[in-house]
């Protein structure tokens, strides 16, 4: 047996962990070998020193103190709620303890939803789609006064459908109408939009759309469309819109209403470009073989004398002279 093995067995022997046969074997070895006996005695002393160094049993007062501290800590631990318990406690607090507050809050929420429904939802209900068959042309006027929006493909219309939104005010559901530019309902809607919509860009697009249809001979001159164009030409705040309306009216069959409108522009429009356009339109009538009546001649005479624009004075005088 080597020394290392001996020391291991000696320690197990001293710890009383050695089996009987090994104990006897070790004891015999110790008795036979002086050097091993001395080594064993050294370990034995150390072992005794260790066991005699055992710490004193704990003091009873210390035990009582730590027990008190522990139970206090455990009670605190028990008082801590798990997240699930916290949520349940919160709900219990709301619906059991503060039920009046929660009932009031819920009532307020329901009242809010109810009021919101009547104020917003009903007025913003989706438009009802319709088509020309379900729109009575004779009653378009009633729609016309209620046009809420027009969607025209942009840039300048060359095809596709125009969508008009009728109604949608006073709690009624709006009617969405889609159709091509040569659709009579669309044309009336466009003309009406010309006089009722505020957006100059939309009005210009509207006029151009009408003009494009006239050029394609798709439009049947409609008195209401003509009236709208005349109104726009005479009263629109935007000179570009007035000018475009005039350009479209030129393509309409000439009549007294159009004549009076041209004369009105020539006499009253503050924009010289518009007045030039009006006098050119009258000159164009003459080129087309129409006769200029006295009413036109009178206005032309007056403009030849006192228009602030040299060009208009000269043009008016020239026209009068040609007529004579």
């Amino acid at each position: 047996m080597n020394k290392e093995k001996f020391l291991e067995l000696a320690q197990l022997y001293l710890m009383n962990e050695l089996e009987d046969d090994k104990r006897i074997e070790l004891e015999n070895l110790i008795m036979e070998n002086d050097e091993l006996r001395k080594e064993f005695e050294s370990y034995k002393q150390m072992h005794e020193a260790f066991t005699s160094n055992r710490p004193a049993e704990i003091d009873e007062k210390l035990l009582v103190a730590v027990r008190n501290d522990l139970m206090r800590s455990v009670r605190n631990e028990a008082a801590k709620l798990t997240p699930k318990e916290k949520i349940l406690e919160w709900l219990k607090n709301i619906f059991v303890v503060n039920y009046k507050l929660s009932f009031g809050s819920l009532t307020l929420v329901f009242v809010g939803i109810f009021v919101g429904y009547f104020l917003f939802y009903r007025s913003s209900s989706l438009p009802v789609a319709t088509n020309s068959k379900s729109v009575d042309l004779d009653n378009v006027q009633s729609y016309e006064t209620k046009i809420s929006n027009i969607k025209i493909p942009n840039p300048f219309f060359e095809g596709g459908d125009i969508e008009v939104l009728f109604g949608g005010v006073g709690g009624t559901s709006p009617i969405s109408y889609k159709g091509s530019a040569d659709d009579p309902v669309i044309q009336r809607a466009l003309a009406t939009a010309l006089t009722t919509q505020q957006n100059p860009g939309l009005k210009l697009l509207t006029v151009n759309t009408i003009a494009s249809q006239i050029e394609l001979d798709r439009i049947i001159p409609d008195p209401k469309v003509k009236a709208a164009l005349i109104t726009a030409m005479k009263t629109d705040k935007n000179p570009a819109v007035r000018k475009e309306a005039l350009n479209v009216l030129v393509k309409f069959p000439f009549d007294q209403e159009i004549r009076d409108a041209y004369l009105y522009v020539l006499s009253n429009d503050g924009n010289s470009g518009l007045r030039v356009a009006a006098i050119n339109a009258l000159a164009n009538l003459k080129v087309q073989g129409a006769s200029l009546d006295d009413k036109i001649i009178n206005v032309l005479n007056r403009k030849a004398e006192n228009d602030e624009s040299d060009f208009i004075r000269l043009r008016a005088a020239s026209l009068v002279k040609e007529v004579k």
């Binding site: 320690q11 710490p55 035990l63 139970m71």
Partner: protein, 189 residues
Amino acid sequence: MSLSDNQLIQNAQKGDMAAFERLVYKYDRHVLNMAKSFRNSDDDAKDIYQEVFIRVYRGLKSFQFKSEFSTWLYRITANVCITYQNKRKQHDSIDREIGINDEDRTTFADQLPGELRTDDSAVGSDLSKHINRALETLPPQQKMAFTLKYYQDYKIKEIADIMQCNEGTIKRYLFTATNRMRERLKGIR
């Protein structure tokens, strides 16, 4: 495990604080002794005791009766002691780094590096003090095996059960610890 232990645990699992308290009182003296023998300090033993039973309280709900309650409890105690020792070592190391040199905390190894000379120490009179200081130099696992064996009279098999390793490992811990202690204490006896 006795029936009463089972019953106490089941009641404690249902939130019966009195049952938990009885369970604590049944075993806590031994836990405190284990902690005291391991750390040789009342304050440290108190800390370990608190930590052990708070862990037991938290873990009791998931206790599945697969082992003796006492075994489970002493395993927790051994783990807490070892963790505590590691934390204290880190703490002491930081203290040394920042210059706090509490003489009472100076390890025996720091004081007496290398071989001791017999006439440097008062033979026998403060042997206990030297043993405790030498114990402080042991790694926590070796120290735990040593204290359970020499101070708590556990058998190697029981120590293996508590420390959750095999008997061979515990024997190795004990031999290594004993030899180191012997080296440290050479010339004192």
